[in-house]
């Protein structure tokens, strides 16, 4: 059975990627199960989907714990623990990363024993949440790595899944997906079907006896004030606002008041952005009277951060 997990951000078409790959495998004679996994996510938040494909009935269900192929549509997610991109990756897992960096760089940074492949990022927009065909592109590259899907089945699947959209949108998605499919040709068939989990010699679950605890501990109350600051919504950001302090006229009130996340604080008439919580909505960029705030792609900002520091920064 093939077990494939696809990671990206809300808005990048990650559910669609699983559906395209699922339909392409289904049209190639496989029994398929595909599903997105989401909760209360929003645009830019980490999301993933998964696909299982086999030549017999699929009885496994739920999140894939031991993937044969992991696709990471946005390399900035690799540093986000909550995204779980690296869950269950083993030496036989193929990890396909959409990135400007090399496979060696990622292998080294993450100390990965897996087979790392790079889908060279083709940025046509600054804001990665708006990458128009990244879902289809990743599905195209993944289809080639699996080696069991012909290009025309991939095209058929895209047409089927995007059927409700404008013909020109479908054409552009097909073109992006086929380009990625062809780019991966030297690695065609790299992904191998994973094994079943045998019922002998398995790791026994570490079950515990849940102890009784009084309601002052065991009721699901949240009594600590202002703990929402611990949720780093800044990790959802695909665009980063930057204040040019020389341009800033220190009117202080406008950007800090209109920021929907209260992520701009003013001290001594100097505004500063709290990047742990700024979601990158760019409202401040639009409202700043002297045009002192500009937006740059988050991935570029992060590349500059890591060039500035010897250690990769998480801010």
């Amino acid at each position: 059975m093939y077990r494939i997990r696809i990671h990206g951000r809300g808005g990048q078409g990650i559910k669609m990627a699983s559906r395209i790959l699922g339909t392409a495998l289904f049209r190639s004679g496989y029994t398929v199960q595909d599903a997105p996994k989401y909760g209360a996510e929003r645009r830019g938040a980490p999301i993933f989907s998964y696909v299982r494909a086999a030549h017999q009935a699929i009885n496994e269900r739920g999140v894939i714990q031991q993937p044969d192929l992991v696709v990471v549509a946005d390399d900035t997610l690799l540093a986000v623990p909550a995204a779980g991109t690296l869950l269950g990756i083993g030496p036989d897992t193929v990890v396909l990363i959409n990135s400007h960096q090399s496979a060696d760089t990622w292998r080294h940074r993450l100390n990965l024993r897996a087979k790392v492949e790079i889908l060279p990022a083709q940025e046509v927009v600054e804001d990665r949440a708006e990458l128009p065909h990244v879902g289809a592109t990743c599905a195209g590259a993944a289809a080639c790595l699996l080696g069991v899907i012909e290009a025309r089945k991939l095209e058929q699947a895209i047409t089927e899944e995007l059927g409700a959209l404008d013909a020109s949108v479908i054409t552009r998605n097909c073109a992006s997906a086929l380009a990625a499919f062809n780019a991966m040709a030297p690695r065609r068939g790299l992904v191998r079907e994973g094994h079943v989990i045998p019922a002998t010699g398995y790791d026994a679950p570490q079950w515990i006896e849940l102890p009784f605890e009084r309601a002052d501990i065991s009721a699901p109350d949240i009594r600590a004030a202002a703990n929402s600051v611990q949720v780093r919504t800044g990790l959802w950001r695909t665009m980063r606002p930057i204040i040019d302090h020389e341009q800033c006229n220190h009117c202080w009130w406008i950007c800090s008041t209109l920021c929907p996340d209260s992520a701009i604080k003013v001290e001594n008439d100097v505004p500063a952005i709290d990047y742990d919580h700024c979601k990158g909505c760019m409202v401040c960029v639009g409202v700043c009277p002297p045009h002192a705030i500009s937006g740059i792609p988050e991935y570029l900002a992060q590349m500059e951060d890591s060039a500035d520091a010897t250690e990769p920064s998480d801010g």
Partner: protein
């Protein structure tokens, strides 16, 4: 017909479409919304000649469904979790009206705290209402069960509403190959609703009402519901056989997966049962005679076929994806009760609580449950009930508690604070 990839929600909507329903009262809730979105699209496009009405709550939705069914039209509706409980008063009421319609429930855990994922406490809460219940393990079964449900609901020997249950996420948002039965075959299996004496015409208005009654008449009417429901065991089997003849799929009241020659069997409902099938195959490869017994029909309770399948087994592993607080798993309670006093009943019936709030159950956990059952067989004593919960999960919960409870962390620095600087 060639199968296509459909989610459980789409399969439920297709069931309603193929059943040619007349009226769909609706109210959206995650993870059910896709069902009514799909049906709304078909009503708009003219593919389904039904009247769809969005109501202001599930309570009103079930009232509308019952009232419409009481005029003799074919009614479909769907809900989930809090929605089903919000409608609880009306579930009992419309069952008491003997209003025949089909309600799909997409199982999701109940608040508090809040989860969006699968858990059977919602559907179990409706257990005593008078609705019959069919529980599905995969997307094909969802579609098939909606069709079967209409046959049960509308049968003059039953005439009760029927709930068809599917798990949120694990089925609702999961695509699998689903064969769409040919419309003509469905027409043969499920002809138009013959409402007989249930009629309503605007030109000949009549009142249908219920009265305030004393215990004697009340007992009569309530017990008649029970007797009608009990007719469902035999009728379900008959309808399932007819279904198998027309569509080639076995939908009998109790699934038996490699259970005939098994020494130990899993007993559970819902989509995680397919994971049990997988575990059974792996355990068999390892030389362990294990099987699965899964009721599709839970109301009426098919006690006789279940007892027959479990007769002579060494042990039963009951997995409850629900929890009756202060008692334990509902399936375990009902199974032990129905087996009591039977000379051929399995001596060991283990209780495991697993999958609450959508918590996954791993392959290794299925294997380990069998190991626990084997030890119990050797010792001759059933183990105490166990929640499937690992040390790592408790560590994760501790982290959340440290964040949520400021007063506890004031005395000792939390890992969060230590790690911050």
């Amino acid at each position: 017909m060639q199968p296509s990839l459909l989610t459980g929600n789409a399969a439920a909507a297709w069931g309603a479409r193929l059943a040619r329903v007349d009226y769909v009262p609706a109210f959206p809730i995650t993870p059910q919304t896709e069902i009514i979105e799909t049906i709304a699209g078909w009503v708009e496009s003219g593919d389904l000649a039904a009247r769809m009405v969005t109501l202001e709550s599930e309570h009103s939705m079930i009232t509308a469904a019952g009232a419409a069914a009481a005029t003799g039209v074919r009614v479909f509706s769907a809900t989930s979790s809090q929605g089903l409980l919000h409608a609880m008063e009306m579930l009992y009421t419309v069952a008491g009206w003997r209003a025949p319609f089909v309600l799909v429930n997409v199982s999701r855990g109940l608040s508090a705290p809040i989860t969006l994922e699968a858990d059977h406490n919602d559907i179990m809460a409706a257990r005593d209402s008078g609705f019959l219940q069919i529980h599905c393990a995969d997307c094909q079964e969802v579609l098939d069960s909606v069709l079967i449900a209409y046959r049960l609901a509308e049968d003059p020997d039953i005439r009760l509403p029927v709930l068809v249950n599917l798990d949120g996420f694990y089925l609702s948002f999961t695509r699998e190959p689903v064969a769409l039965p040919a419309a003509e075959l469905v027409q043969t299996f499920l002809p138009p609703f013959d409402a007989r004496n249930i009629r309503f015409s605007a030109s000949a208005p009549q009142s249908q009402a219920v009265a305030v009654l004393g215990g004697g008449p009340y007992s009569y009417f309530r017990y008649e519901c029970h007797l009608a429901a009990l007719n469902g065991v035999a009728l379900y089997q008959q309808v399932a056989e007819e279904f198998a003849g027309l569509f080639g799929r076995d939908r009998c009241a109790v699934e038996d997966y490699r259970a005939q020659d098994a020494e130990i069997v899993f007993y559970m409902v819902g989509s995680f049962a397919t994971k049990a099938r997988e575990a059974v195959d792996r355990l068999r490869e390892a030389g362990q005679p294990v099987g699965l017994v899964r009721p599709r029909l839970l109301r009426p309770f098919p006690a006789a076929p279940i007892a027959a399948l479990l007769a002579g087994k060494q042990a039963v592993i009951v997995i409850d994806q629900n929890l009756s607080v202060g008692q334990g798993g509902v399936l375990h309670t009902e199974l032990t009760c129905s087996l009591y006093g039977r000379p051929d009943a399995p001596p060991i019936v283990c209780s495991f609580i697993g999958g609450l709030g959508g918590r996954d159950i791993s392959a290794q956990e299925f294997y380990q449950m069998v190991a626990v059952a084997r030890d119990a067989v050797d010792a001759g004593v059933a183990p105490p009930p166990r929640l499937l919960y690992t040390a790592e999960e408790l560590r994760e919960t501790r982290k959340l508690q440290a964040i949520a409870m400021a007063e506890q962390v004031e005395t000792a620095p939390s890992p969060q604070e230590q790690g911050d600087e």
